[in-house]
């Protein structure tokens, strides 16, 4: 599970608990200027994810770590796919983040409204 918050001009993602071991990451800090948007997307976990390195993919249990597909680098941390959200980035190491959060709709609303205010 991930905790997402806005700190000043950054979006901060904190990977919680044991997930950070599988994901090989404790946290990510991304300038809001490089965040294109966020979307609730429970269906994404059923799609092909590409090649994992490094990280962990135990089908049906956890998808965590960095996946490479079609020249894109995607960071995953999802156990409960019904709570998955997608954050699309620009000019970052990752093309997008696929994360599990407690309340995907509220998190998407937070990110999208913050981006709108900054326009």
């Amino acid at each position: 599970m991930a905790l997402i918050r806005i700190e000043g001009d950054n979006l901060v993602v904190v990977i919680e608990g044991l997930d950070k071991l599988w994901a090989f990451k404790g946290s990510l800090t991304i300038p809001l200027a490089n965040v294109r948007g966020a979307t609730v997307d429970p269906g994404i976990a059923t799609e092909p994810k590409g090649i994992r390195a490094p990280g962990s993919h135990v089908p049906g249990v956890i998808i965590a770590g960095t996946f490479h597909q079609d020249g894109e680098k995607v960071f995953w941390d999802v156990k409960d796919r019904s709570k998955a959200l997608v954050i699309e980035l620009a000019d970052e190491q990752y093309t997008r983040l696929v994360l599990q959060v407690d309340d995907p709709r509220a998190t998407v609303a937070l990110i999208e409204s913050t981006l709108t205010e900054r326009k």
């Binding site: 294109r36 948007g37 269906g43 994404i44 799609e47 020249g71 997608v86 709108t116 326009k119």
Partner: protein, 166 residues
């Protein structure tokens, strides 16, 4: 920026107008978009950034494709009956849903909806030579008639009251 987009963006946006206009924003999942737009999920995110990003583009497309021609047609309306008929027969599905569902929670949508409705008011005011307030009342009545399922008698009765005034 990676591979060329293997889909027709224009067609995808038009399909999104129909989807959002038929099922509302919350009723359309990314799975729905992927299956109806002919776009891979990754391309969808790469091109539009988010579902909301696509929605805003679709809303603007609806205003350009469906509301703009209504404004042009309204310029030729000779009386209130004609103006009511034009508005109640236009395809305003996405605009109406946006006004109800998204405008209260999304200021960018609110700005688009407000501007579009103001343009309809203005077109009616110009065509009929009535005040902006009366034109806004006519627009409001026409939208209400659409929501009520377009009962003919309502528009006719209203036009009979209004046309002597214009």
């Amino acid at each position: 920026m990676g591979r060329p987009r293997a889909f027709d963006e224009d067609e995808a946006v038009r399909a999104a107008v129909a989807l959002f206009g038929g099922r509302a924003y919350d009723g359309v999942s990314v799975d729905d978009l992927v299956s109806h737009l002919g776009v891979h999920r990754n391309s969808l995110y790469k091109t539009f950034g988010s579902k909301r990003g696509l929605y805003l583009i679709a809303l603007r497309r609806h205003l350009a494709d469906d509301v703009r021609p209504l404004l042009d047609a309204l310029a030729g309306a000779s009386d209130a009956a004609a103006a009511l008929r034009l508005v109640t027969s236009a395809d305003l599905d996405l605009l109406l849903l946006a006004a109800i569902e998204r405008a209260p929670v999304d200021e960018e949508v609110a700005a688009e909806v407000t501007a579009a409705l103001a343009a309809v008011d203005q077109a009616i005011a110009d065509a009929l030579g009535v005040s902006a307030d009366l034109a806004a009342a006519l627009t409001a009545a026409a939208l209400g008639i659409i929501l009520r399922g377009n009962p003919d008698n309502a528009a006719t009765a209203l036009a009979q009251c209004l046309d002597p005034l214009t």
